[in-house]
């Protein structure tokens, strides 16, 4: 019954996307068009390659460290500290130098990628799921449900999210966590904090989209054929929300990575000794003038990862919404 995502339809500039083979006209699928448009963005491709490598490095972190000859992220090499107990810079034994406890910075950057990516993907997934759920219901049912959800979103948005995040992270980082132990200290706290403070954004976007789509003819047609609300939501609305969901998720990922780094920098994110880029930058900041390596490498990792996600996210936005691109 679905007629596809409007934004994924051909526009008038993409006549070339239609191949003439013999007497047949073979239209490219929306995803083929998406891939074609995406490939046009060289920065996005570079970002995608970088992220692919990063994910592989994160998955095979022990192997990567072994190949480089770096010790594990928790091993404190006392011989790598100077007589003042201060970290030493890059050397053959520690290519990125060591931190204040003598731990290999390369290893911690590599293992820090695991934390960043884990938090980014899981948080984004949860945020998106919850936001889409709320937005769908608010936009589809309207009435008091819409009022309730929308006003909740308004109220939620009025809360200074960074302060809320710091408060939640502080409260849940002790003992068995909070919500009866559901939110455990460490990475789960950060994921929960991100999800709790960010679900309003996809909810608003999706609600707006649903308000528009629910008035389309194909939805009317489906309803007139006796489709249930559940079926309309699942079979008609959700497929047509794919583009905004993907756009939101792709642009939200780097935000989460930076948010996790910020929380860890402030000491309420991932707790030591678990490696985290934000925490490493925080630890290094008092002595940046003399221990540059300690901040530089996690900083670069954070920079390039966020940049890569942004490039990819922007390209996805453009590819999924060519009209917006042309504007």
């Amino acid at each position: 019954m679905s007629v596809g995502t409007p934004d994924l339809l051909l526009d008038e500039t993409e006549v070339g996307a239609v191949d003439l083979v013999s007497d047949e006209i073979a239209a490219r699928s929306p995803w083929e068009l998406f891939a074609r448009r995406f490939r046009e963005d060289k920065f996005a491709l570079a970002g995608l390659i970088f992220l692919t490598l990063l994910i592989l490095v994160a998955i095979f972190a022990p192997l990567v460290c072994k190949l480089v000859g770096a010790p594990g992220p928790y091993f404190a090499d006392q011989n790598a500290l100077d007589v003042f107990g201060q970290p030493t810079g890059p050397s053959s034994a520690h290519i990125f130098g060591v931190d204040q406890l003598g731990r290999d910075v390369f290893s911690r950057v590599v293992y820090g990628a695991r934390v960043s990516l884990l938090v980014a993907f899981v948080s984004t997934f949860l945020t998106t799921i919850f936001g889409v759920f709320c937005g769908l219901f608010a936009g589809f049912y309207r009435g008091w449900i819409d009022t309730l959800i929308s006003r909740t979103i308004d109220a939620w948005l009025a809360i200074p999210y960074l302060l809320l995040a710091i408060g939640l992270a502080s409260a849940c980082s002790f003992g068995n966590g909070c919500v009866g132990g559901l939110i455990k200290p460490g990475v789960p706290v950060v994921i929960a904090v991100v999800a709790l403070t960010s679900w309003t954004y996809p909810a608003r976007i999706i609600r707006g989209q649903v308000l528009s789509i629910r008035e389309k003819e194909f939805v009317e047609a489906s309803r007139s054929l006796g489709a249930s609300n559940f079926r309309i939501i699942v079979k008609e609305l959700l497929p047509n929300l794919t583009a905004p969901i993907i756009v939101f998720a792709s642009t939200f990922l780097p935000t989460v990575i930076l948010f996790e780094a910020a929380l860890s920098f402030l000491g309420v994110g991932v707790q030591p000794p678990t490696p985290s880029w934000g925490q490493m930058i925080s630890d290094a900041s008092p002595n940046i003038a003399t221990q540059w390596w300690y901040m530089l490498f996690p900083g670069l990792a954070l920079l390039f990862t966020a940049l890569a996600f942004n490039f990819v996210g922007d390209a996805m936005t453009d590819a999924l919404n060519p009209r917006a691109r042309k504007r």
């Binding site: 928790y74 404190a76 006392q78 500290l81 100077d82 007589v83 003042f84 107990g85 201060q86 204040q100 406890l101 003598g102 980082s173 002790f174 003992g175 200290p185 000491g267 707790q271 030591p272 000794p273 630890d283 008092p286 002595n287 003399t290 221990q291």
Partner: protein, 624 residues
């Protein structure tokens, strides 16, 4: 030393506990050869404690402990501070940086010249006290014609000379809830009539109660009567700011205020300087006391003005500012880590190291599993890499590796084994500075863990400070405990919270408190180990407990009770040294550092370090 402030008395009222922070106390040894002659007789440097494993580092950055011959009068000394004093009121002050101020403006009965580490010398007292009645009666005579300074905050002040009744009142007001003195009940516990006075003040908290054990036969004599012959501890405690005179007729109206006495803001001083201006958290200004008679005591008072500037939270920058600036010294922070490296490598002549007279240890809660098993505790100590722990505070310049609890410079240190620590096979677990896993595993096996590592329910809790170097120390401890199979739940919190909510609250104490330690109030074994390892401390103060290992060993408790009554210095040192070994045999904690105090000064400052608290003595320091 690494962190920003030294909130000793603030965090743990009644104690001079080490917070994250720096130790700040006297060092040197009672038997060390301080070549300190009289002031003006040329400078002398403190020597490292005899037998210490740390003397080479101390020798590289010696502290001047007498006034240099080249010292000149005049100028303004800027004192760079992170935080504030704990209390501006000398009756409540219990914080070593505050003592920097108090040593210059107050005159307790006894005092500590910078080069004196053996025993206090008369300051307000005209001579050493007379001890009679088998050590139960102590009689002081005070100097004549000592006058008070103009008051802080303006006003007419007090023009009459100091009398013995002023000293009696100064001590009695320490019982007022508005003057929260932290050590009166501790070191004056054997004072006759103290408990009655404590009861009286509960009925009327606006009036200082009479302590019947303190009498003043005349205006120049004050007599302390004790119920036990604990005169040594009492005389030592009379060197603390509490016994600096306060005239009742002047101060009573301020002391009657609740909840806090306002005397501090109107105080009158008797030292060579007086506090002319004070803004909490901002600045303290000391000027020469116009009513002070030069030469009336051992303080030369070179500079005209001392300006304490507070709020330098970035201590690395503050150290750099001092090293590259002029007329400056540090106050409540020491050079540590990177700033210590900077000072030691680029400005070595502007850095001094002084034994701080304190220790740092990782407390193992002996009342909870698994550390209620002595073999598990020994295993943890055997596995500990104390060198790695020391690196978190600045490496070899941070202090000597501790092998027991009484630090260098305190009587009992040598008797407890000196730098090498207690000897004998029963102490093998403390004899490996970088750890011995094989030995640790053998102790784990003795504890019932057949694999040599913890199996089963091995989750333990640890509460630490949340900023370096305390947080770094905690991470190292966690890693070391993990090697023995423990699953450590580390909870970093603010240092104050660590004490007030967890480590000092008996019911809430976690298995491990990695950032605790102790600093002496004065140079005596009692001041070093009686509180943190006496079982009586636990029950006496369950919500402000400083016996962090919760060690409650009847033999040790009895030995501590007996040792404080010993008058002979040699026997006393031997007794405390023996008790220190007995404590170590119980393995209640991992002692890992005997701190140095790393002070810095600008190149045009001639700093004199007072070995009593390891900090710069404002009354002896001068500008070139």
């Amino acid at each position: 030393m690494g962190s920003r402030s030294r909130l000793l008395g603030v965090l743990v009222p009644g104690l001079l506990a080490i917070s994250s922070i720096g130790l700040a106390a006297c060092g040197g040894s009672s038997n060390s050869s301080n070549s300190a002659g009289s002031s003006g007789g040329g400078s002398s440097s403190s020597s490292a404690p005899s037998g210490s494993n740390v003397s080479s580092e101390l020798a590289k950055f010696p502290a001047v402990v007498t006034a240099p011959a080249a010292a000149k009068k005049g100028g303004t000394l800027s004192v760079i501070a992170d935080g504030d004093v704990d209390y501006i009121d000398p009756g409540a002050a219990y914080y070593q940086p505050t003592y920097m101020i108090d040593l210059a403006v107050d005159s307790p009965l006894m005092g500590w010249p910078p080069n004196d580490t053996a025993a206090p010398v008369p300051l307000l007292a005209s001579a050493a006290p007379t001890i009679t009645n088998s050590g139960k009666t102590i009689t002081f005579h005070i100097k004549p014609n000592v006058h008070y300074s103009p008051p802080l905050g303006g006003g007419t002040g007090w023009t009459k000379p100091v009398v013995s009744q002023d000293v009696k009142y100064a001590i009695e007001r320490g019982l007022l809830p508005g003057v929260p003195n932290g050590y009166l009940g501790l070191y004056f516990a054997d004072l006759q009539g103290l408990s009655q006075a404590q009861a009286a003040v509960k009925k009327d908290p606006t009036k200082a109660p009479d302590i019947s054990g303190i009498t003043t036969p005349n205006s120049s004599t004050i007599v302390f009567t004790l119920t036990k012959p604990s005169s040594i501890g009492v005389i030592d405690a009379l060197s603390l700011p509490l016994s600096s005179p306060v005239p009742q007729a002047y101060a009573a109206k301020y002391d009657s205020k609740t909840p806090s006495s306002t005397y501090g803001a109107h105080q009158i001083d008797v030292g060579p300087y007086y506090i002319s201006s004070y803004q909490a958290g901002k600045q303290i200004t000391l000027l020469r006391n116009p009513n002070y008679t030069a030469g009336s005591d051992f303080r030369p008072a070179f500079v005209d003005k001392v300006a304490v500037q507070e709020g330098f939270a970035d201590t690395n920058s503050a150290i750099s500012k001092i090293l590259t600036g002029s007329d400056m010294i540090n106050f409540d922070f020491s050079a540590t880590g990177e700033s210590l490296k900077l000072a030691a490598t680029k400005y070595p002549k502007q850095l001094t190291l002084t034994p701080a007279g304190g220790n740092r240890f990782v407390a193992l809660n002996t009342q909870k599993p698994p550390f209620n098993n002595i073999n598990v505790r020994k295993a943890v100590i055997a596995a500990s890499d104390r060198d790695a722990l020391r690196n978190t505070r600045g490496g070899v310049l941070a202090g000597g590796l501790a092998t027991h609890f009484i630090p260098p410079g305190i009587p009992g240190y040598q008797q407890a084994g000196g730098a090498a620590g207690p000897s004998g096979a029963q102490f093998d677990f403390i004899q490996h500075p970088t750890g011995d896993m094989a030995l640790a595993e053998s102790y784990m096996k003795k504890a019932g863990y057949s694999s040599g590592k913890c199996t089963g329910n091995c989750t333990i809790t640890m509460v630490s400070g949340n900023v370096p170097p305390a947080s770094d120390t905690a991470q190292v401890v966690k890693a070391q405990l993990s090697q023995l199979g423990f699953n450590v739940q580390l909870h970093p919190v603010e240092q104050a919270v660590m004490y007030t909510k967890f480590c000092s609250v008996v019911a809430n104490e976690p298995n491990v408190c990695p950032n605790v330690g102790w600093i002496k109030d004065f140079n005596d074994g009692q001041a070093m180990i009686d509180i943190p390892f006496n079982g009586g401390t636990i029950t006496a103060s369950p919500t402000n407990n400083s016996n962090w290992p919760q060690l409650n060993n009847p033999t040790i408790n009895a030995a501590l009770a007996a040792a404080k009554l010993i008058v002979d210095p040699t026997a006393r040192a031997a007794a405390y040294g023996k008790i220190d070994d007995e404590i170590m045999a119980q393995a209640p904690a991992i002692p890992w550092l005997w701190d140095y105090e790393a002070n810095v000064s600008s190149s045009d400052v001639l700093p004199v370090i007072n070995e009593f608290n390891g900090l710069t003595d404002l009354a002896f320091t001068s500008i070139k």
